[in-house]
């Protein structure tokens, strides 16, 4: 009843091929965007913006990046953290070399370096499949992390070995560095995330996205039908790494302000992979849901005991949150192995037939 597409007739091919062909979806999307662009900036405090929304959007973008490779093209990767690091270090070097250039442009450009490196490490995917590919991408993770530690040129020979984000202005507003207000950083991150998500939504339902899915579902059949595996797989690696690279650059420039090589460790790769698996392989919305679950839930849970008036030591809360989130991950994967995206689909189906389920 709430989600019924009956009666919504399409009178042109254009209308039929729209990104959101159903009215309810369009309304929902407008509401979500209104919340993100208007309600949150008006209502949220600094902590909510800097510690919840900005990292959430960055992680969601990284999860989209990995989802393209793993969910849509079927190539398992454990190198996400390192590809994000490449983006971060590239953006840092670019802005040190061109201090006057627009920082948003530099962040978007940094993804190109990440894409190139991702494509190089994607080469073995032509011969190696499945879990074996995960091992070669793991090698990329360790090799690149080693580079971040051992090549001082990458961090401008700082004694600390960390990259520290300088102050940069965009259109007269401080966009990065300590003086950048959370609201400016939030809008930049939100803008880039929405833009890339929208682009990807269109790429994925077009020729390129479909060829990725053909490779995922059966590569021999895809090859017989004229899809070139080399080009398709490398393109998936490049696009995925580009998005991860941009997310990694945003992570240091608009969220953390400084990053050590350990920020881009294997831990981050796993974190993103869990977001993708929990959210749902092969779903853009799932990437957002997965990122929300892995990032927002633990932060939110930490505030629960205090609000209920319980006086619990900080480390106990930490342990309890850790255990709760772990148990929930196992629980949700048992109940719905296809992730939150599938849950959302089930919910939509229920809404469609309500109040007369059959």
């Amino acid at each position: 009843m709430f989600y019924r597409e009956a009666g919504q007739f399409k009178t042109s091919y254009q209308a039929d091929q729209a990104l959101f062909p159903i009215l309810q979806d369009r309304i929902g999307m407008v509401v979500i965007l209104a919340i993100a662009f208007v309600a949150i900036p008006l209502l949220a405090n600094d902590f909510f913006l800097t510690s919840i929304m900005i990292p959430f959007l960055i992680f969601a973008l990284a999860a989209i990046g990995l989802n393209i490779l793993t969910g849509f093209c079927g190539q398992l990767s454990l190198g996400t953290g390192a590809f994000m690091g490449v983006g971060a270090y590239a953006a840092y070097k670019l802005t040190s070399i061109f201090p006057d250039a627009n920082i948003i442009l530099m962040v978007l450009l940094s993804g190109v370096f990440s894409a190139a490196i991702g494509a190089v490490f994607g080469l073995p995917s032509l011969r190696i499949k499945g879990l074996y590919l995960a091992v070669t991408t793991l090698a990329a993770q360790f090799f690149l992390e080693w580079c971040f530690i051992r090549i001082p040129w990458l961090y401008n020979y700082n004694a600390s070995g960390a990259i520290e984000v300088p102050r940069r202005e965009v259109f007269g507003l401080v966009a990065s560095g300590a003086e950048a207000t959370p609201i400016v950083r939030y809008f930049i991150v939100l803008g880039i995330t929405v833009l890339i998500t929208w682009l990807m939504a269109n790429v994925l339902r077009g020729r390129i996205g479909r060829s990725w899915m053909m490779i995922r579902d059966m590569d021999i059949a895809a090859e017989l039908m004229g899809i070139r595996p080399l080009r398709t797989k490398l393109m998936a690696f490049a696009v995925s790494s580009y998005i991860c690279g941009v997310a990694g650059a945003m992570m240091v420039f608009f969220w953390l302000n400084a990053a050590e090589p350990s920020s881009y460790s294997i831990r981050l790769s796993f974190q993103i992979l869990f977001m993708v698996i929990l959210g749902g392989l092969g779903s853009l919305g799932g990437a957002f849901l997965g990122a929300a679950f892995i990032w927002i839930l633990p932060v939110a849970l930490k505030f629960v005991p205090g609000l209920l008036g319980m006086d619990i030591a900080a480390e106990t809360v930490e342990h309890a949150t850790f255990m709760t989130v772990g148990a929930l991950i196992i629980f949700f994967l048992i109940v719905e192995p296809h992730g939150f995206a599938r849950l959302w689909q089930i919910a939509k189906q229920k809404l469609r037939v309500w109040p007369f389920p059959y």
């Binding site: 405090n45 919840i52 004694a159 932060v299 939110a300």
Partner: protein, 443 residues
């Protein structure tokens, strides 16, 4: 399926409750001085983090119980768990800064580096006591950062000076090999520029053995190299699980323990005890009192531990890292007191706290008044020097406990200071435009 719905609903409600909590974090009541403590009692660095957290908490709690706070105003203490993780540290910072935080003690060089640019913007000083960015000692460039009583470069110079004393003079270091085993993070890399400079000056060879943080509990390959290279002395910059592992490995390869010297953070009782009998003779720097026999520590036992207001195990009072935490809180409390005197306010802000830290003068008489005679070397902060380059001493593990093994040794200030100033200038240039100091010097 019904259970599932309930659980899903429960999760959503809990998350919702948490989120509303985040949106409504109000400022602290205006009759206390709010001091957030960024601590870590979980994770691979908890072994070092717990005694420090206990020491910091207990001294402030004792002041609240015994004197009703500082200057008649209670101190509101809140711990935030960072797990030695820079991301969580920043999250803790963002979560607590709006409540009127006076000062931050990150206890992680990584978190300190992230907070340094924020401190001047948010007007909340950072007290990185004996860690963090060495160059922050230059008050002209870093008005908001304090690293009393010493920087890592001071510590490294004291170790080299001490080794020189053992060898009968610094000139005898020529041709010697000194190994440097360190946690491969901002923390362990910090002293390398100074060590390299001293190696050049005194003609010893510096051999570096980095230990990656993820593999700090497996150092056999590094110690295999040590056995091959046979350095005359070993210097360690270890933290968390790294220090006990290194000491165990050193015992295993029969490295002469009296030639193995750790920085003040590798001076925990548990670190040395891990090596068993073989660790006898292991040395480490220290700047906070050895043992639990101080009137102020007795007050902590009486007012905090025996009343059950603390999670501290009574036996750990007086251990090196616990005392370090206490000294950290002594500096906080004294800075609050100084700030109250300078500004005439009882409830102070971060800006007042900065004045208090900059005018801090913890002399012999004041230490005695606090019941901490001989607990630390008298220290004084000036506008130019936020580090102080105070003397430190060497302590030695006798198999059961630490005992002081040297007098207070002055760092090589004439070597360190020019390097500090150059590094501060370099930092400001790399982070251009770095704000000029506008804060006046307290008189």
């Amino acid at each position: 399926m019904r259970n599932f719905k309930q659980l899903a609903l429960g999760t959503a409600v809990a998350a919702g409750v948490g989120l509303t909590g985040i949106l409504s974090t109000a400022a602290q009541a205006q009759d206390t001085n709010y001091v957030p403590l960024l601590t870590y009692r979980t994770g691979p660095y908890a072994g070092s983090g717990i005694p420090i957290a206990n020491g910091m908490h207990d001294y402030l709690a004792m002041l609240n119980e015994r004197d009703g706070g500082v200057g008649g105003v209670k101190i509101a203490i809140e711990e935030c768990e960072t797990g030695y993780n820079a991301q969580k540290g920043v999250e803790c910072y963002e979560a607590t800064k709006g409540k009127g935080a006076l000062v931050y003690n990150p206890y992680s060089t990584g978190i300190t580096l992230q907070l340094i640019p924020k401190a001047g913007v948010d007007k909340i000083p950072v007290l990185s006591m004996g860690y963090g960015l060495s160059a922050a000692a230059v008050g002209e460039t870093f008005p908001w950062i304090f690293n009393v009583p010493d920087t890592y470069w001071d510590g490294a110079s004291v170790i080299i000076k001490y080794i020189g004393e053992q060898e009968g003079g610094l000139e005898n270091l020529k041709g010697k090999k000194i190994g440097y085993i360190f946690l491969d993070a901002g923390y362990g890399r910090e002293p390398i520029p100074l060590l390299e400079k001293l190696a050049e000056k005194y003609g010893f060879e510096l051999m570096q053995y980095p230990v990656p943080g993820a593999e700090m509990q497996n150092q056999s390959s590094q110690w295999l190299n040590v056995r091959r290279d046979r350095p005359d002395y070993m210097v360690m910059w270890g933290w968390g699980a790294m220090s006990p592992t290194a000491i165990k490995e050193a015992v295993k390869i029969r490295y002469p323990m009296d030639k193995f010297i750790g920085v003040w953070w590798s001076a925990g009782d548990d670190d040395a005890a891990a090596g068993g009998e073989g660790a006898k003779g292991y040395k480490a720097l220290n700047f906070s009192g050895v043992g639990g026999d101080f009137p102020a520590l007795n007050d902590i036992r009486k007012h905090v531990i025996e009343t059950g207001n603390s999670s501290t195990d009574a036996a750990s009072v007086g251990s090196t890292l616990y005392n370090r935490g206490v000294l950290n809180s002594v500096i906080i409390a004294e800075a609050i007191r100084t700030a109250q005197e300078k500004t005439g306010k009882k409830v102070i802000t971060g800006e007042d706290m900065r004045i208090g830290l900059e005018a801090l003068n913890l002399d012999e008489a004041r230490l005695e008044e606090l019941g901490l005679k001989g607990f630390a070397h008298p220290m004084k902060v000036t506008c130019e020097d936020h580090g102080g380059s105070n003397p430190v001493f060497v302590q030695e593990w006798d198999g059961k406990q630490w005992r002081q093994a040297s007098d207070w040794i002055e760092p090589m200030t004439d070597e360190v200071r020019p390097l500090l100033e150059a590094a501060a200038k370099d930092y400001a240039e790399k982070n251009a435009p770095w704000p000029k100091r506008t804060e006046p010097c307290p008189d």
